[in-house]
Every structure is written in structure tokens, then in C-alpha cells.
């Protein structure tokens, strides 16, 4: 269980309060999406949970233990794959487990298992620069999953990919998550469609200061289809909520579809 209690974040030398009074409890196995206009502090919120930044107010607890600094129980998947160019695909996936001190034999077995899951079995020996953007994110996903962290933090992991690749990867992530229902995911996105596609609950942030505007429960049947009536309805409801916050955000979304 992840708990955020009165979390706030201000940066020195700026008047703007990035995050204010964030109270949120996430149960094990939940898929939570965070949406909001750009600049509202979505990524900051994720970084706070990851331990890459420290809150200026409030506290964050994972299973009752306060979060202090980054750790392998909260693995992050970034917008860019963050794979290491001097290692091939397999070695990249194995490196995370090496930090955990997992023996070599097991590292390899687990890496191969997850690479298979993301359909990269044929590419284990490839250098990173020969992979497409989608393949890189798949490898990053395999690496993140292989760490078997309590919670998986995802910071717009598909936003730099083209539409088709994004759709494919969404489907794969959903499948993997549905097969392993104990996985808690905190997923930052600027896409309403993506949020409705994945989330059990959607946290809508408002801008300046970034606060929780509302939390929308999203209990559509899985696997979800984006042309389902309920899906479209839910997406509209979410867009409405965010639209009032910032015109721009809504416009971006409509332009896209």
C-alpha cells in the first residue's frame, strides 16, 4: 500500500507551488493514472514517490515505511528507455537484477522470460542503437518487470512513440498487468484515452498549485476497447474535468483524434 500524506513540493527561487496537499492511498494491485495539464506537477509527483526528489511538506509511505531516496521497490520507467548503449538488450535487462544481487543464472532466466513476454526473444543480442523506439521501450519494460518491484512507476512511457506502436504496447502492458494482478502501477500520462484504457482510478491534477482536483473511479470491463460506448463516455467525462482546468490540454487531445 502506498500512502501520500499532505505531500507538497515547492522549488526554491520560484513563486509557483508545484504540488500542494496531495493525499492519496493506493492499494496493492491497483492501476492508478495521473492526468493533468502539462506543468501541473505530474512528473514531480512520480519523482517524489520514486525518491528522486524529496517533498517539502508531508510524507510518503510504502507499506508503512517512509520513502527515503530511490530504491528498487519502486522501479521507474521513463519517457525515454534509459537503456545503456554499451550493453546489449539481454545485458541491459540483467543489469537491474545485478544491482539487487540476484545470482547470474537466475538473472539470465528471468531476463529471458520477460524479454519473451515483450516479444523481444529474437533481439536479445542486439545493441541498443539498432532497436526502434518501440522495441527500446519494450526492453525497458522487461527490465522494469524483471526487478519485481512492489510498485511500478511509469512516466509517460509511450508518449514519444507513434500511434500504432503506442496502441500495441498498451495492449501488451495491459495483458501483462492482467496476468499478474498483484502489480501496483502508478502511471503518469497526458492522454485521457490512455488513462481510461488502463486505470482503476484516475487522479486528475489541477494546475498551479498542483492539487488533486478529483479522483475518478474507472471500472470498465477489461480488456477495454476504445470505441466502446462506456469508454467514450468515460473519456469525455475525464476530458470535461480537465478541460475546465486548462483549455490547451483539451485542445491537444481533440487535435489528436
Amino acid at each position: 500500500m502506498l500512502e501520500l500524506r499532505n505531500v507538497g513540493k515547492t522549488y526554491p527561487h520560484t513563486v509557483k507551488r508545484t504540488l500542494k496537499d496531495i493525499n492519496l492511498t493506493i492499494e496493492e494491485g491497483e492501476f492508478i493514472c495521473i492526468v493533468g495539464p502539462s506543468g501541473c506537477g505530474k512528473t514531480t509527483l512520480l519523482n517524489l514517490v520514486a525518491g528522486l526528489e524529496e517533498p517539502t511538506k508531508g510524507e510518503i509511505f510504502l507499506d508503512g515505511i517512509p520513502v527515503k531516496g530511490p530504491g528498487a521497490d519502486r522501479v521507474v520507467m521513463f519517457q525515454e528507455a534509459a537503456l545503456y548503449p554499451w550493453l546489449n538488450v539481454l545485458d541491459n535487462v540483467m543489469l537491474g537484477m545485478e544491482f539487487l544481487g540476484i545470482p547470474k543464472e537466475e538473472r539470465k532466466n528471468r531476463a529471458l522470460k520477460y524479454l519473451k513476454m515483450v516479444h523481444l526473444s529474437q533481439f536479445t543480442e542486439y545493441p541498443i542503437h539498432q532497436l526502434s523506439g518501440g522495441m527500446r521501450q519494450r526492453a525497458a519494460l522487461a527490465r522494469a518487470l524483471s526487478m519485481d518491484s512492489k510498485i511500478l512507476l511509469m512516466d509517460e512511457p509511450f508518449s514519444a512513440l507513434d500511434k500504432q506502436t503506442t496502441n500495441m504496447l498498451r495492449g501488451e502492458l495491459e495483458q501483462i498487468w492482467m496476468n499478474d494482478h498483484s502489480k501496483t502501477v502508478l502511471f503518469v500520462t497526458h492522454s485521457a484515452e490512455e488513462a481510461v484504457y488502463f486505470a482503476d482510478r484516475i487522479v486528475v491534477l489541477s494546475e498551479n498549485p498542483g492539487q488533486i482536483k478529483e479522483i475518478i473511479s474507472c471500472d470498465l470491463k477489461r480488456p477495454r476497447q476504445i470505441d466502446q460506448e462506456e469508454f467514450v463516455h468515460m473519456r469525455h467525462r475525464l476530458l470535461e474535468s480537465v478541460k475546465k482546468e486548462v483549455e490547451k490540454f483539451a485542445k491537444e487531445e481533440y487535435d489528436k483524434n
Binding site: L52, V75, A82, W86, L95, F99, P127, H129, R143, L153
Partner: protein
């Protein structure tokens, strides 16, 4: 691939032709100004033919080869010391912010000092011997290596470090498995630059001392008023520097860059 190698050969031929024309021009100018107009004195104007003659005689007597090998050996030894010293110094000024604020500017200052300025100290402390030359080489190249190492670590993409931290990497793992491998391309560039500084410093040291080496051969040429020998040694110094740069450092750098898809 086929096309690539043919363009490479083409480029090589072009360069060879250019250098050949340069030599021809040099010979013509020499003949015009020395023999026809008699403006240049023969003892101050080397000619390609004279240099070739000098090359043949120094090669035959074995002087050139032993001087070259001595200089190379000294250069490599001095460079090796510089690399170790520069690496340690570089990591220190990166890791401790106190040193970064205070020692780094001093090192940057030292780096601007031409290596020949260390020669008086070298002679006073070590005498006219090998150690003095090594001292000049190390002072001439270690600082640039230290600054390069610091810079290389600083330019590791923050995302690499962030990702490693969120995967639970400790300080040791972070340095050994992420930061150092990430630095390899910039480190090779640093070594290459360090070598060129070391090679220049070596010559500054060698012309001042009296041990066998290219620098000393150059000075002997001057003392015997043999301008062709001076010119020959200069060409050998350039040639040796370029060959080592291209065949070792550039080749190594290209290999790493290609492996990482950076070229």
C-alpha cells in the same frame, strides 16, 4: 561496404597526391630561391633532396631508429604516468565539491602553461636526464587528462544515473557499472588529446637535455648547421605523432563509437 572502402582509397590517393605536389612545390621554390635568385642561403633552406639524403644516412647509421624508439618509449612511459595521475586527480576533483571549486581552477591555470616552462625546474630537480624529461611530459599532459575525466563524468546523461538509482544501484555499482562505462567515449577523446600534449612536451624536454632521442637529434642537426637533418627530424616527429593518433587513439575511439551507434 564496398563503396565505403573505395571512397576511403580515393581519399587516401587524393591526400597522397596533394602531399606529393607540396613536395614538388617545395623543391621548385628551393631551386628558384637558392640556385637561381640566390636569395636564400643553402644552409638555412632545406630541400626535399637534402632531407631524403639525410634520411638515408641517418637510417643507415641507425641513429634515426634508435632515437625514434627512445623517444617513443619515453613518451609512452610519461603518458602512462600522466593517465594514472590524471585519472585519480580527475575523479577527485569531480567527487569532492571543495576540490571542484578550488583545485580545479588551479589545474585549469596549470593547463595553460606551456610545458617548456617546466624545463628549468626539471633540470634543477632531476638533472639533465631521463627523469627530467618524464617530469616535463607528465606536467604537460596530466592536467588536461584530469580536466577531461572530470568533464566526461559530468556529461554522463542524468537519465542513466536516475534509472540506475531507481533500480537500487549503490554508490559502487553506480560508478563501476554505469558512470565509468558511460564515460568511455569521452575518456578516449581525453586520452587522445593527452597524448598529443605528452608528445609535444616530450620534444620540449628532449631538446633541452642530452639523452638520445628525436629532440637531441634535432639539436645535433642545428649544432652541425645541417638544416636538412633538422627538417627531417621535424617531419619524423610529425609523422610519429600522427601515426599514433590515427592508428591507436582514433581507431579505438571509432570502434567504441560504432559499437554504441554514435557514428
Amino acid at each position: 561496404m564496398q563503396k565505403k572502402s573505395t571512397t576511403k582509397i580515393k581519399k587516401g590517393l587524393e591526400l597522397a597526391l596533394f602531399l606529393f605536389l607540396l613536395v614538388v612545390l617545395w623543391q621548385i621554390l628551393n631551386m628558384l630561391f637558392v640556385d637561381v635568385f640566390k636569395i636564400w642561403k643553402p644552409y638555412s633552406a632545406p630541400s626535399p633532396a637534402g632531407v631524403a639524403f639525410s634520411f638515408a644516412s641517418l637510417l643507415k647509421s641507425g641513429v634515426l631508429l634508435s632515437a625514434l624508439l627512445k623517444s617513443l618509449g619515453r613518451g609512452v612511459a610519461g603518458f602512462a604516468i600522466s593517465v594514472i595521475a590524471g585519472l585519480i586527480l580527475g575523479i577527485l576533483i569531480h567527487h569532492f565539491s571543495y576540490l571542484n571549486r578550488n583545485l580545479k581552477p588551479v589545474i585549469m591555470g596549470m593547463q595553460t602553461l606551456p610545458s617548456i616552462c617546466w624545463v628549468p625546474f626539471a633540470i634543477l630537480w632531476f638533472g639533465l636526464n631521463n627523469s627530467a624529461i618524464l617530469f616535463v611530459v607528465v606536467m604537460g599532459s596530466a592536467f588536461s587528462i584530469a580536466l577531461g575525466v572530470d568533464d566526461g563524468i559530468k556529461n554522463v546523461p542524468p537519465l542513466y544515473i536516475k534509472a540506475a538509482k531507481t533500480m537500487g544501484a549503490g554508490q559502487g555499482d553506480l560508478y563501476l557499472k554505469v558512470i565509468l562505462p558511460a564515460c568511455v567515449p569521452s575518456f578516449l577523446a581525453t586520452l587522445r588529446q593527452g597524448w598529443s600534449f605528452a608528445w609535444r612536451a616530450l620534444m620540449s624536454g628532449e631538446v633541452m637535455s642530452s639523452t638520445i632521442g628525436l629532440g637531441q637529434t634535432l639539436i645535433i642537426g642545428r649544432d652541425m648547421a645541417d638544416i636538412n637533418q633538422v627538417m627531417l627530424v621535424m617531419l619524423v616527429i610529425i609523422f610519429a605523432g600522427v601515426v599514433i593518433d590515427k592508428c591507436i587513439f582514433t581507431a579505438l575511439e571509432n570502434r567504441v563509437l560504432r559499437k554504441r551507434g554514435l557514428m
